[in-house]
Amino acid sequence: MIDWLVDPLTHGFTVRALIEIALLGVTSGAIGCWVVLYRISYSAESLAHGMFPGLVGAALLGLPLMLGGATGIIIAGLLIAVVGRLSADAADTAIAVVVTSLFGLGVLLALSPDSPPGIQALLFGDPLGITEGQLLVTALLGATVLAALWFGHDRLLAVGFDGDAGRAGGPSPGLIQGLLLILVAVTVLVGVQGLGNLLVAAILVGPAAAARLLTDRMKPMILLSAGIAVLSGVAGLYLSFHGRVAAGAAIVACILLAYLSAAFLAAAKTRLVRPTRKETPDEPVTQLV
């Protein structure tokens, strides 16, 4: 049993993967609650493709890829916010329009003979290929995002639950939504380098959706979500080590398992509580902190 726990820790790459998943788990778990509340999962899943033109542009100009990726992904986030507000259609339509157009543009730019091969793959990492530099970037990013969420908590909450109520004083709801998209964009950028595209979407949405099933209050939800993300990440890495399953996929499987368990718990709780309480399950979070 002890060996079972300790064996993975004797390899440098698993230790780095564990640290990365813990750091990103806390960050994504926390911001994921806002992703779920603001219903921007599509952005979380697709923004990574929107940075393609920025990435190729940086390669063609000889700038660092990371800089191009950051510029590209932030522009994509802003475009989504602008198009969403101007077209006033379902938000995910705006995301589809912006991301596919940008991706197409990136493909065309990448036709240039000066563009390095497999340029997007260069930025999509694998949890087992983490470097110390990436750990540092992840830690810095995590601190920044968590600080922003901490200070913006009340505004995010006000706008998230009632866009109109959020209009009374303070920055406008549009600004808040735009800023949140930028935070998500930066998290996705660092996340795809550390974990790969598949895992980022899952870790941003899964733990938060699970936590939302278990609690109505925002702060406990954030703590729970971060906890679920870290725990699923660690469990997934052990599964990958002992069960020989591809690492990213194993972590996703654990996140989904956590979600299903939460759904089961929530269903059981509802059944027990129903006689004493009027159930309004479609109502979002009602009790705010």
């Binding site: 197409g104 543009l105 091969p117 080590f241």
Partner: protein, 598 residues
């Protein structure tokens, strides 16, 4: 300007996009009205496990794609039973589940080949009759469904996600909508690929939606817009020699931006500014094109599929062939997407030289769909050394090392040019094919063959003596993926392991396998891990860091390097690889080809 319309492959692409305009316009309108854009994108991406299964078990890819799409839809519905999870979160969760399943299937079950990747990228330039039939059937389905069930979809109100759909009383009708969406997405896959499905389904309908709230107008306008943007994009792609999918994506994105700008401005009465902006954007839309890559020599028109084969033909044919090489240097053959000039070159070719195996599987469709009647020479047949069982390697690297080579049932390892002896045979075959086609230049070809053959023999001799200078116990390497079996087999080097478990770029290793590989590297005292020039080195570097091996020396694997690099020619790439391998194994003590004796 319009001569493109006479090309057979162009006409088939045109027919496909016009057929697809019907389901994409009709169903796309419903996708936009009901807020299903994320769902439709996710259905396309979630087909991945179906494609892996279809490839692994050998059934039709479209069937696998539709099966996976259906599974995804069911998963969405199942997860959505929990009412407190938002529709978008449900979609994201179901998508993650499907993709994770696909990665596990590709990495841990089938060790999938690279052809899985090409299925995720479609192209309007490689449309077969099967694709046309599928599009026609789905178009019929979309018309029938819109006509008979459409009013029920309308009654359900707007802007609800897929997850909410099946909770209503009209669950059956909504199930029908999701099914037709899935069918439309699957039919669209072969035209533009998984990542650009929204280009045809969402973007045109969203553009039309900006100007109308009437359903009948929306359905008609969206359908016409898909057709117009598709045809224009396809035509523009032929004019500029760009891939059509991306061209259509940019065209329809620009159209949406124009429409949105025009609407926003017109509401503020700024029509003149709008007209100016429209004109400027339309001009900007015509991007720069790229010329044909033909060498422009005399003699027969020859197409080579891969960079190596192109180099062999150039060595033999010299200026007595008109050579076009399809794959460009330093691009990953796994990510190939045909461009109009490629299809044109194949259609016009007298002779096509293929490398063979899964590296250029796609040429079969390309040749068939282009209407070419060229002589196709697959160089991978009739080789003195043919290795098998590449897909069966394991990281311990001891048990299967030799028996796999004879097992004929296993998949052929297509990297035959890594063995110089094979290249001598291939070069002779190229010479005889060219001489038959162009007897007047036969002596010229033979002369160039003799010169090339001598160079190969020198290379082989020097490499052998060089490898012998490395102590026998140190002749061990670890590579990124298993592209070097012919090379190691020829020169008595042992590959003790490979980092990536399968050839598709979607595959990932497990932590356990990587740990075993690390133990092997330590036990065997392997001094170098060799990343490939065109593959991300992150995993190799992580391993190297922990074991003290070096990743300093990279190898040319599936592709030659760009002009001006060491790997510009096959001979150059082999010398560079030999130098790298020998230096890596000996800790930098032995070098083979310096500046003077190279």
């Amino acid at each position: 300007m319009f001569e493109a319309f006479s090309l057979p492959f162009f006409q088939r692409g045109l027919a496909e996009i016009l057929l697809l305009a019907i389901p994409c316009g009709l169903i796309g309108s419903w996708v936009v009205l009901r807020g299903l854009a994320f769902h439709s994108h996710a259905v396309g991406t979630a087909t991945f496990p179906g494609l892996v299964l279809a490839d692994g078990l050998g059934f039709a890819a479209a069937l696998g794609a539709f099966g996976a799409a259906a599974l995804f839809t069911l998963l969405t519905v199942a997860i959505a039973r929990s009412r407190r999870t938002g529709a978008d979160s449900v979609t994201a969760l179901a998508l993650a589940a499907c993709l994770a399943g696909g990665v596990i299937l590709a990495s841990d079950v089938f060790n999938s080949g690279a052809n899985v990747d090409t299925l995720l990228f479609g192209s309007l330039l490689a449309i077969g009759s099967g694709d046309l039939w599928l599009a026609a059937v789905v178009a019929g389905l979309a018309v029938v469904a819109s006509f008979f069930v459409g009013q029920h979809w309308l009654a359900r109100g707007f802007d609800e996600g897929a997850s909410r759909a099946l909770r209503s009383d009209s669950a059956l009708f909504d199930a029908a909508l999701l099914t037709v969406v899935a069918a439309t997405v699957v039919a669209t896959l072969s035209a533009v690929g998984a990542l650009l499905v929204s280009t045809l389904i969402v973007v045109p309908a969203a553009t039309a939606r900006l100007f109308t709230a009437r359903l009948s107008t929306l359905l008609t306008a969206a359908t016409l817009l898909v057709a117009a943007e598709g045809v224009f994009g396809l035509w523009l792609s032929v004019q500029t020699n760009a891939p059509p999918g991306a061209t259509i994506a940019v065209t329809s994105g620009a159209a949406f931006a124009l429409a949105l700008g025009a609407r926003t401005i017109s509401r503020r009465g700024m029509w003149r500014a709008a007209a100016v902006a429209a004109a400027l954007l339309a001009l900007a839309g015509f991007g720069a094109g790229c010329g044909s890559q033909s060498s422009g020599g005399d003699g027969p028109k020859v197409v080579a599929t891969t960079t190596q084969v192109g180099d062999f033909v150039a060595e033999i044919g010299g200026d007595q062939v008109d050579l076009s090489t399809i794959l460009k240097p330093n691009t990953d053959p796994h990510e190939y997407e045909p461009r109009p000039s490629d299809v044109q070159a194949v259609a016009d070719a007298d002779i096509i030289f293929r490398s063979g195996g899964h590296l250029d599987d796609w040429t079969e469709d390309l040749i068939k769909d282009s209407g070419s009647d060229a002589e196709v020479v697959d160089l991978s047949t009739h080789l003195p050394v043919r290795l098998f069982g590449e897909e069966e390697h394991d990281h311990e690297g001891e048990a299967h090392e030799d028996e796999g080579h004879e097992a004929g049932g296993e998949e052929f390892d297509p990297h035959w040019w890594q063995d110089p002896v094979n290249v001598r045979f291939a070069a002779a075959r190229i010479e005889s094919t060219l001489s038959d086609a162009n007897p007047a230049a036969s002596a010229y070809y033979q002369g160039r063959l003799r010169r090339f053959d001598n160079q190969i023999r020198n290379l082989t001799r020097q490499t052998k003596s060089c490898v012998r200078r490395v102590p026998a116990g140190d002749r061990k390497i670890v590579t990124d993926h298993d592209a070097f079996a012919y090379f190691t087999n020829r020169f008595g080097i042992e590959t003790v392991g490979t980092v990536i478990p399968a050839l598709t770029t979607e595959a990932q290793p497990s932590a356990g396998d990587l740990a075993d590989l690390e133990a092997t590297i330590r036990r065997e005292n392997v001094k170098a891990i060799f990343p490939e020039e065109s593959v991300s080195p992150a995993l190799s570097e992580a391993l190297a860091k922990d074991t003290g091996a070096t990743t300093e020396y990279s190898l040319y694997g599936d592709t030659l390097g760009p002009a001006g690099s060491d790997g510009e020619t096959w001979l150059g790439s082999m010398k560079s690889n030999v130098n790298a391998v020998v230096a890596g194994m000996s800790g930098g003590k032995v070098t083979c080809f310096g500046g003077q004796d190279g």
